[in-house]
Subunit: 474 residues, 2 copies
């Protein structure tokens, strides 16, 4: 192993290789996962500065028996996918030094960036050039585009622009053999063979290491308007979504649903946020309209939509933000649900998706099952309804012991919820990925033929299990 | 082999298995490729009626040494990808009997269809339910959605809605082992493992047989308007595209460019079509604006765009269609270029893509190179500029012998054009695929690491080369 460390230092430079033997070493930033569920112990943390260095690191590790590699971006993942295990034999390959914006091509509407570029910096570079890079999510200040690609991150604008997958045109990848796949194309059409780009995206560093990407840019919208609607049922929310698609067309860029209990937690723990309309309705919806013309046009469209919705009874009351600060306020309420939940106490989180049409039945049936199992259980139900993606979270009964609740119920609740998701033809991981956290669930919930093909592909591209072993495929 | 034929008849029913031994057999419809470049001889043509029958056919063929399978949809492909070779050992698996629309889910904006459904029927089923299925291309009256998926077909609406790939949410696939992968999900977010869907799409039946698909639906636009603009140069066309993105946003659904020679051929052979504005300009552009409000709104937006473009000098003159019939007339001119070329005589066709920003330089440089090599050569240059996709076709000098021209120049011209495409970081097959026609070109123009990964994946999923051997990977 000492020989490998020496090699890594010679490849990346001594200041860019850290080990536990270094004086005062604290590798927590790379070894402890974001949600503090798992702490590993690495052989070394390596921070290469170029694609050639990544390739050389891979070759050196491949030549050292017993060593494997864990690629890492901002280490903000939610499924324990980017931290090492506790064996002390894994090299964390941190991509954060490779953070350059390599090129912006305005006429081609593309930007080429290195994997370690922080999402917020990518958004800013696009905006400075007069364009929108629409991927947006909570961790954007510290997550990297390489991590977004590795996990096919979702976020709040998927409804209009798709997941990270749909925003990517080309990739540069270092393979498990240490070869460089130069696929940094800015082409919107290229039918010369198998889709290796999409195979790499969402594979969580188990099939190759993404070192750079060419991403799509969009025109900046001329105006963005936000509305908040009280709806009488989940079915009404689904009906409102249909109306919004019809009326706003591609202008509809956000459609978030929140149940009354979720909003009551925000009201309880952050009363200064002044949650509107929540007290007399089981659900509220946050809508965003991005307009290519101007604010007045966006407002007229929104008013037409809400009028139709009130007439048809799928909305009982609504407000449209008067200005940007009000709009931010409404989004801030939506984004505070997770924090308000934490204030209320530990809870059991899910990131699931269901076909939109089946969500009302799923929620009604699963709520009832959980209430029967755990009298008084409280459901924090919210998410990106426009994408069929719910964060269906389960909180202990009021006044209960949260720790005991988690200990006694977490596995049973997960099984109950995942079984329901399976029954309704949904996914047990909509936008967070599999990592180590859910890898052992795939044999139960994934199509067995699909799982067999995944194993065959992993074996073909990484026969010695060099890249992120035991993640995705346990 | 007789045993296999008997098995196939027992699986699919006697009326659905054809062989050359049948009385009066004419299997041309399945053995002769669309452009009549290649005629194969099959062992049998099999037309299964269900996914279970497809799986059984695959298992029967897999158990018979020396036999392989060629999946086929409407047999309208342009790269010899869906016809058998002349060995007499290949079974053509025609999917056209599996043509049902299995389900439409309006609230989820999805339609689930069998692979053999003709594209036009899929479009019609969507429209009948009040939605748009936006894939649209010349062969839509006879091509099937399975073939569209297998080749990742493009067409005229890619600019806004993407290729077939971007329109698909889930697939049902029969593997080379005769197993059924049930991935018919209608989910917009699902991060539970490798992206097998996109791996199958565009693999031209070499990795699995697509039997059904869940596709996205969109709201029908309230109005569609078409404009025709004369532009002074290819650079001006690119500038106009940028302006159109800014002004129309997602309303921009079509942006086609045509050079003067292409339009002169339409004018010469179809004078009744009355090509507008072509005589005094090197290029014309066809634009389409799809509006979610109404025609008046679309017209106001178009006028604003063209006014800006005239001011900035990237448009010299323009007309907006007054009604649907005029709009169809303009599209008809664009679609008549291929026929007008054929009237003029045989020519050398290309389906290439280049980053949009580099197209002006590519065209100028490649035109000049060809003129130097072949004095008087005539270039029929047109295509989907919005996607960076050109049909860059090369016609013999006026009055020359077309057959001799093809014989003497086809290989040299292909090499010259493909070398230029490679230099400008483009693709030698933008929307038609690889098939047998371009398989031998990949080793020259494809990244070698990508090609090695493709071979490893083929070997992993179809180790006995049962599915469409020698297509894509020669």
């Amino acid at each position: 192993m000492n020989k490998l460390i020496a090699q890594l230092r010679s490849i990346c430079g001594v200041p860019h290789v850290y080990t536990h033997e270094d004086a005062g070493a604290d590798l927590s930033a790379w070894e402890l996962d974001w949600r503090k569920r798992s702490r590993g112990r690495s052989l070394a943390v390596v921070r290469p500065g170029s694609t050639a260095e990544v390739a050389a690191v891979v070759k050196a590790c491949a030549a050292t028996p017993g060593v494997s590699i864990v690629p890492q971006g901002g280490n903000t993942g939610l499924v324990v996918g980017s931290v090492p295990d506790d064996s002390g034999t894994q090299v964390v390959l941190s991509m954060t030094r490779m953070n350059a914006v390599r090129a912006i091509d305005p006429a081609n509407l593309t930007i080429t960036v290195e994997a370690g570029c922080v999402l917020q910096n990518l958004q800013a570079a696009a905006e400075q050039a007069g364009f929108l890079f629409p991927l947006s999510l909570g961790a954007e200040g510290s997550c990297t585009i390489g991590g977004n690609l590795g996990t096919n991150a979702g976020g709040t604008q998927v409804l209009r622009y798709g997941n990270t997958r749909e925003l990517c045109l080309g990739l540069e990848v270092v393979t498990a053999q240490g070869e460089v796949l130069n696929g940094l194309t800015g082409l919107r059409k290229d039918n010369t063979g198998y889709d290796l780009r999409n195979l790499m995206i969402g594979s969580e560093g188990t099939l190759g290491i993404i070192t750079a990407a060419t991403m799509k840019l969009y025109p900046l919208p001329a105006a963005q308007l936000t509305a908040w609607a009280a709806v009488p049922s989940m079915q009404a929310a689904v009906d409102l979504l249909g109306l919004a698609h019809q009326t706003l067309g591609p202008g509809l860029t956000g459609f978030e649903v929140m149940n009354q209990f979720a909003l009551s937690l925000v009201d309880k723990h952050y009363p200064q946020l002044r949650v509107p309309l929540w007290q007399d309705t089981p659900w509220c919806v946050l809508l965003e309209n991005s307009d290519s013309e101007n604010e007045q046009h966006a407002r007229t469209q929104f008013e037409a939509l809400l009028e139709r919705a009130l007439e048809q009874g799928c909305v009982s009351d609504a407000v449209v933000a008067e200005n940007l600060s009000q709009a931010h306020g409404l989004w801030h309420i939506r984004e505070s649900i997770t924090l308000a939940q934490a204030e209320e106490g530990l809870n059991i989180k899910h990131d699931i998706s269901i076909p939109v049409s089946r969500i009302p039945a799923f929620v009604a049936e699963t709520d009832a099952l959980l209430q029967r199992e755990i009298p008084g259980v409280r459901l924090v139900d919210f998410g990106h309804l426009g994408d069929g993606n719910l964060h269906y979270n389960v909180q202990a009964p009021e006044g209960g012991d949260n720790k005991a609740f988690l200990r006694d119920w977490e596995d049973k609740v997960n099984t109950l919820v995942f079984d329901q998701v399976h029954k309704f033809e949904g996914s047990i991981s909509a936008e967070h990925g599999v990592g180590e956290l859910k890898a052992h669930k795939l044999p139960t919930y994934k199509d067995p033929t699909a799982l067999a093909m995944m194993r065959a592909i992993k074996q073909a591209l990484d026969p010695h299990q060099l890249l992120n072993p035991r993640k995705v495929l346990a």
